[in-house]
């Protein structure tokens, strides 16, 4: 069954430096870093002590609040350092990778006979559970709850995103195993979206409800999918899994190995030769950018993730647990003479206030990290709605989050959203307000107060 979803509201931001469709094997990273902050809301309880050895798939830590949720090491090796921040918060776990990788064997699962509990136990034990996220609150799914549906987006519409049609090629068996297993965890459907014109390997899967999406970003966001198909109501839960993580889940179910390998795009206007790499979660980004990557001594922003909702990392930082793209763009910490009133041809804008990106919608831009203006109170109205396809009032829900009115947040649809849904409104915001942060803090408050 195929259902078309067409999005009209949104914005495709075309940037220079799209990854060329060739995959290289990245050199093996000597160190692997896992940062607990990738898992929002998780307070880690360490299992792996400094100096101890772990196998790939071996537990590094578990969630203090829900001890069944374990987090696995992407590599086998020795835990060399636990990096701590203020109040002894665990910032990162650094593992020195063995030359020869050894995998913990979790045992393959026979998908024909396995029930929901077995699937769940397998995912939890192997550390694959963190790939399953839930809404409301956009956090790792609570295994106790039963979702009304599971959503997977196989269409990446964000700027410079890794093309999932390309990165998932040849992984049909793993993908099928993963969705078959996931479909046992819900009484509802597994909704899967692919681009309307794509030849995604996901399109051939069975046991899923397939949707073909088209239109500008955020048409590929899983949040858009949920809102258009089956929005989350109060008291309901849906789960989401990123398409590239299905591969890891699938491989675990088929072989019993936690193989953290992932095809990652290296993109952005600062990259000399943007292309795809096969690498492991937690690998140092230096292993991707040392050759034909960024210019030495360049002044660049390295982002683990896409330019709209990724995380800034240092040149010695590592690929985070969920991203399949590393984007590098120039920093923009320079002044621009009369930059606020002269005609602008080299930046993206949704208005036409002497900004001319509307003349040439196909042009690729080289944007930097300058905010193009200062932070202000909300003044302009109507601009967010143009790029926000969800049936929610964006300005009103942001304001409700700012003044922390829980009833209003709930009434306006807070259970349905994740910070990334507000990435485009943040991009176009004339007042340069941090929308994603506002939403994240709002969700955290609701999680704490309502649960």
């Amino acid at each position: 069954m195929s259902n078309d979803i067409r999005i009209k509201k949104g914005l495709d931001i075309k940037l220079k430096g799209e990854a060329e469709k060739t995959v290289e094997q990245a050199i093996i990273s000597n160190y692997c870093t896992v940062r607990p902050e990738d898992f929002h809301g998780v307070i880690p309880k360490l299992v792996a002590k400094e100096g101890s050895s772990v196998e790939a798939g071996g537990t590094l830590f578990y969630n203090k609040a829900n001890e069944v949720i374990k987090f696995s090491s992407p590599v086998s090796g020795k835990v060399v350092e636990i990096v701590r921040g203020p109040k002894r918060r665990i910032d990162a776990i650094k593992i020195e990778a063995d030359k020869k990788q050894s995998y913990r064997d979790f045992g393959a699962l026979s998908l024909d006979s396995a029930g929901a509990d077995e699937v769940k136990a397998k995912l939890l034990e192997s550390g694959c559970w963190p790939f399953v996220k839930q809404r409301p609150y956009d956090v790792i799914a609570d295994p106790e709850k039963s979702p009304k549906a599971i959503f997977i987006s196989g269409y990446a519409s964000a700027p410079l995103a890794a093309d999932l049609d390309f990165t998932l090629q040849g992984k049909e068996a793993e993908l099928q195993a993963a969705v078959t297993a996931l479909s046992k965890l819900t009484e509802g459907k597994v909704h899967l979206a692919v681009g309307r014109k794509s030849n995604s390997p996901l399109a051939g899967l069975t046991g899923v409800t397939l949707h073909k999406v088209s239109g500008p970003h955020p048409s590929g966001n899983v949040g858009t999918l949920i809102n258009k198909i089956d929005p989350v109501n109060k008291g309901e839960v849906v789960w989401t899994v990123a398409a590239q993580d299905l591969v890891i889940i699938g491989e675990l179910l088929l072989t019993g190995r936690f193989n953290a390998e992932r095809v990652v795009a290296l993109a952005g206007s600062s990259v000399q030769k943007p292309r795809y790499f096969k690498t492991l979660i937690g690998s140092e980004v230096a292993t991707l950018i040392y050759d034909k990557g960024v210019e030495k001594g360049g002044h660049d922003r390295i982002i683990s993730g896409n330019v709209l909702s990724g995380k800034q990392i240092k040149p010695d930082g590592a690929l985070d647990y969920y991203s399949n793209v590393v984007t590098i763009i120039p920093e923009g910490d320079d002044y621009e003479f009369f930059g606020w009133n002269k005609p602008v041809f080299n930046k993206v804008s949704t208005s036409r206030a002497l900004t001319f990106s509307w003349l040439n919608p196909k042009k690729e831009y080289d944007l930097n990290t300058n905010t193009n203006g200062e932070h202000r109170a909300f003044v302009v109205t109507g601009g967010y709605e143009e790029v926000f396809p969800l049936d929610i009032y964006p300005l009103q829900i942001l304001k409700a989050c700012m003044y922390k009115d829980l009833d209003e947040m709930e009434a306006l649809g807070m259970y349905e959203v994740a910070p990334e849904d507000f990435a485009l409104t943040e991009f176009v915001c004339v007042s340069k307000q941090p929308h994603q942060k506002i939403i994240r803090e709002g969700l955290d408050l609701m999680l704490k107060e309502i649960g």
Partner: protein, 408 residues
């Protein structure tokens, strides 16, 4: 490049000083700041609030320049020194240096006082409250000289600006937080505090008040009368101006409100740049047309007699209301203020329609002061949050209904 570096060093050196916002306001006026994104979106669109405000100002500049010519033209015409223009927008009698200089020297001080006093207060509040100087006043400061009579004494304007900015805006928390349009708050203050300078038949033409005083002092001169068309209609007299005069703007009135054609161009520019809300502008015109048509029907059906004091304005053809008085200016530049208008798209339709509708309503039923745009917009400013509330409730109800359908 030297200036850029010097200003940057100065900013860094004085970053703890209390007066830094005042410096930053000038610094960011010269240079788009060097701020970068942190986490969140790493790239941002080109528009900021300065650019947005600047676009509105650009749309108003033609009205300002026309206003200067018109002030001189009305003055000279009233004195009988020149002939009335005939038809064409580019009439030679109108676009003379003579006309311009009269208006220029009358209106430039209004602009300077408006910006000087208003921005001064903004700077003071920014320093006291320790935030950046926000750009809201850039547009307000340009609106104010355009919506007052040309002869308004400067001290009155200064007092009104102080009132409008402090009570109308800063007490609510500054730009983005105010309930009422600040420019209209300033005008409303003038209107209620100094009504003799804001209405009647003497204030719209430069020199009329002076001449009146001279006559009162015993000099033997002809009085200058420069009534607005609305004033004439309210008294049931014959209008001396042609439709073309009204549309092109060769009529007495507040400085910038007279030329409907230039306001229309400014409005189209704002719609094209997506800065102004076409929803509000269009629905306001619709509202005015509907109200005008209703009045026309009432007048032609003989429900009120032609001796009624409302008859003159009621029987004026509905489309004439769009091109006389402050309706066009208010609709394009004041009703569309995003802070004080409705903020939802559906709300904007309702809000705009009511602005237009009530403008004409007040205009007709207020023969002592035949203009209603200012009061209509201020009234709707107050109701805009209520309109939004009900629009948003529609969304909330839909969401609740979804749950009920499920559980039923």
């Amino acid at each position: 490049m030297g200036l850029k570096k010097k200003l940057h060093d100065f900013k860094i050196k004085n970053k703890d000083k209390k007066w830094l916002p005042a410096f930053s306001a000038i610094h960011t006026f010269l240079f788009l700041p060097d701020e970068t994104t942190h986490n969140g979106t790493h790239i941002k669109a080109a528009d900021d609030l300065k650019r947005t405000m600047n676009t509105v100002i650009m749309a108003m500049i033609p009205c300002l320049i026309f206003g200067m010519f018109n002030a001189g033209y009305q003055h000279h015409l009233a004195l009988g020194e020149i002939q009335a223009v005939t038809g064409s927008f580019f009439s030679a009698e109108f676009w003379t240096m003579d006309n311009f200089m009269v208006g220029f020297w009358k209106i430039l001080p209004l602009v300077i006082v408006s910006y000087g006093v208003g921005l001064g207060i903004e700077f003071i509040f920014a320093i006291i409250k320790g935030h950046e100087v926000e750009e809201g006043y850039l547009v307000t400061g340009m609106l104010v000289p355009l919506i007052v009579p040309v002869d308004i004494p400067l001290w009155m304007l200064a007092v009104a600006v102080i009132f409008g900015v402090v009570i109308g805006k800063e007490v609510f928390g500054g730009t983005g937080m105010n309930i009422l349009n600040p420019a209209l708050t300033i005008r409303a203050f003038l209107f209620f505090a100094y009504p003799t300078w804001m209405s009647g038949d003497k204030v719209w033409v430069h020199g009329a008040v002076e001449r009146d005083q001279a006559i009162a002092a015993g000099e033997n001169l002809d009085a200058i009368s420069g009534e607005t068309i609305l004033g004439v209609l309210a008294q049931g007299k014959e209008v001396a101006y042609s439709t073309a005069d009204m549309f092109l703007g060769f009529i007495p009135g507040s400085v910038g409100e007279t030329s409907t054609v230039l306001i229309l161009l400014g409005g189209l520019f704002l719609i094209f740049t997506k800065i102004g809300s076409w929803r509000i502008m269009l629905s306001s015109v619709l509202g005015a047309v509907v109200m005008g048509l209703i009045f026309n029907q009432v007048a032609s059906a003989g429900i009120i007699s032609d001796s009624s004091k409302f008859y003159g304005l009621m029987s004026a053809p509905f489309w004439e209301h769009l091109i006389i008085g402050g309706f066009a200016f208010g609709t394009v530049f004041m009703a569309t203020d995003p802070v004080t208008a409705s903020q939802t798209n559906k709300g904007k339709w309702i809000y705009g329609f009511l602005v237009g509708f009530i403008s004409i309503l007040i205009r007709v039923f207020n023969p002592a002061y035949p203009e209603g745009v200012m009061l209509a917009i201020l009234l709707m400013n107050v109701f805009a949050p209520t309109i939004d509330h009900y629009v948003v409730q529609g969304n909330v109800k839909r969401r609740l209904k979804r749950v009920k359908v499920k559980t039923a």
